[in-house]
């Protein structure tokens, strides 16, 4: 049965959209200019829009929304050099009509359709796609990018308002990242999932000023990162843990010499923490004391605001067993937890 959707009242449109997935809403928005305006008028308000850039492929996901904390799939767009002429259709994406086709995606249960564009250049499609999506979501969701290759890192520079980047490729060198940060100066978080080489991470790197920073494989550069980081939240995984960077970080925070905006530092290691760090000594040197039940709340709201870490609801941590450290001259309180696998340092607001 066919159905003249546009002739129905707006309230009915809103109700219909409640029953549709973001993927369907995206496909609907490509139907016509009127449908695009209709989706725009519904005023969907996702907080984040994430572009995952692979070789000749863009994957878009949305979230979280007011009703769902999960990131939801929206579109897969692929640049292809050939589409059989009988299958080509023209669709307006952004401001231009492009030749394309839709094919079923059998390899992914989440993204059911692939939108194949007859375009050589990924960045051109990316520009049109962002233009289209920006129009659909007029409330300016935060733009995040996940990058899977060096070429994609270069292509990502056509996106504007990028505030969060996750890097997921192995040949990564910090110089390319510096360029990316220079092109997108409003970055709020960087998540480096690949294995960086530490040689090019200079002390004046823009990376250290990012509010949220996470390294999946910080290993030998752990000390360097902890030393230069000046942001809000630092998460270092697969780290080589040492005593000196920790005592330096805590002492500088205590004396208010650095780390003024700190929210949390989490360092996890595959090795045994107690073999590297004398926890009693560290706590003694920092004048840490057990929680007295009064000076701070029991639950800590951990809100890292780092790409791919913030897609879940902010976690509430029970800090009743954590030791407390106060800044000199009656400043802020922080709490520290040392276990076999990690050291967690959180600062109370």
């Amino acid at each position: 049965m066919s159905f003249p959707l546009l002739r129905l009242p707006v309230l009915v449109h809103i109700e219909v959209f409640k029953h549709l997935e973001f993927q369907e809403i995206f496909l609907l928005s490509l139907c016509s200019e009127n449908m695009k305006y209709l989706v725009h008028g519904i005023k969907l308000k996702p907080k984040e829009i994430q572009y995952t850039l692979g070789d000749d492929m863009i994957q878009v996901s949305i979230g979280p929304t007011s009703k769902d904390w999960q990131r939801l799939p929206m579109a897969v767009v692929e640049c292809v050099s050939f589409i059989p002429s009988e299958e080509i259709i023209t669709i307006k994406l952004g401001s231009e009509r492009i030749a394309c086709r839709f094919v079923e995606n059998s390899s992914d249960e989440e993204y059911t359709l692939i939108f194949e564009c007859l375009e050589d250049c990924l960045s051109e499609v990316l520009v049109l796609l962002q233009y289209h999506l920006e129009f659909l979501f007029p409330k300016d969701p935060c733009v995040q990018v996940q990058i899977k290759s060096v070429d994609c890192l270069l292509a990502a520079d056509v996106l504007y308002n990028v505030t969060n980047t996750a890097i997921k490729f192995d040949e990564f060198t910090p110089t390319e990242l510096e360029n990316h940060l220079a092109n997108n100066p409003n970055h709020e978080s960087i998540n480096i999932l690949s294995k960086p080489s530490g040689r090019d991470l200079k002390c004046n790197s823009k990376l250290w000023k990012i509010k949220g920073l996470s390294f999946e494989h910080s290993r030998t550069i752990t000390c360097r990162i902890m030393k230069y980081f000046t942001g809000r939240c630092l998460i270092l995984l697969n780290a080589n843990l040492k005593y000196s960077p920790w005592i330096q970080l805590i002492q500088k925070w205590k004396k208010k010499e650095a780390y003024g905006d700190l929210h949390a530092v989490i360092v996890r290691t595959p090795e045994d923490v107690y073999q590297e760090i004398d926890s009693d000594k560290l706590l003694r040197e920092c004048n840490a004391s057990q929680w007295d039940g009064l000076r701070r709340p029991r639950m800590f709201k951990f809100d890292p605001k780092i790409i791919n870490f913030s897609q879940r609801e902010p976690q509430m941590w029970d800090c009743s067993d954590l030791y407390d450290i106060q800044q000199d001259n009656g400043g802020k309180w922080a709490s520290i937890k040392i276990t076999e696998t990690e050291i967690v340092f959180v600062v109370w607001d």
């Binding site: 049965m1 066919s2 129905l8 009915v12 109700e15 549709l20 369907e24 609907l28 139907c31 016509s32």
Partner: protein, 203 residues
């Protein structure tokens, strides 16, 4: 409006666009938030006019309301799979025109459950389809059709322009033709008068 002792047995008269009236139970009518806001507290004197909708549509809408009187309170959208056999039959019986009328009436009467089920049914028509297929479902012209339409319109406009130009030319010619005899008349009159003047002056 009749008003027996028990509120559940209260019947209200509804007036359709044809001017026909039929009665609906108070319990069924209370599923309409529009009715609740407009008439429940102040009461209705005589038939309640829902004259934007025809009798068949209103009867269909209230048939649903009567059926769902005893169902638990509405708690947000449900998936089509959760609908009962009666619900499915109710929707399957409707043709497209009736379905649209029912959605519009249900939306106006603000009957949440029925509106939501209708919308879920529309969403179901779109689910799993690509843009091309969606265009067919929601009866939008395709890009090719739009282009063809635009070309036809351009051709029509060009033809109309030609006709207008021809008409303007013809009008100009007519004006000259109409002007000619007048000028000739003036000239002839002038000549005659000159001749007369000359003859007078000669005399």
């Amino acid at each position: 409006m009749t008003s027996p002792a028990s509120s559940s047995e209260v019947k209200y008269l509804i007036e359709s666009s044809e001017g026909n009236t039929f009665d609906v139970s108070g319990a069924a009518l209370r599923q309409s938030n529009t009715f609740n806001a407009m008439f429940l507290n102040i009461g209705a004197d005589g038939p309640i006019p829902f004259t934007d909708y025809n009798e068949a549509t209103l009867k269909k809408v209230f048939e649903y309301c009567e059926h769902s009187v005893n169902e638990e309170n509405y708690s947000g959208p449900k998936h089509q799979d959760d609908l009962s056999k009666w619900d499915l039959n109710f929707f399957n019986e409707m043709d497209q025109k009736m379905f649209i009328d029912v959605i519009n009436a249900s939306n106006f009467l603000d009957i949440e459950r029925l509106t939501s089920y209708c919308c879920e049914r529309i969403a179901r028509m779109l689910r799993g389809k690509n843009t091309q297929e969606m265009i067919k479902v929601i009866t939008l012209p395709t890009a090719e059709e739009l282009e063809a339409k635009q070309k036809v319109e351009e051709k029509k406009a060009a033809a109309a322009k030609k006709v207008a130009e021809k008409a303007a030319e013809t009008a100009e010619k007519t004006e000259t033709l109409e002007e000619l005899p007048v000028q000739q008349l003036v000239q002839t009159t002038r000549n005659k008068l000159t001749r007369k003047y000359l003859s007078f002056s000669n005399e």
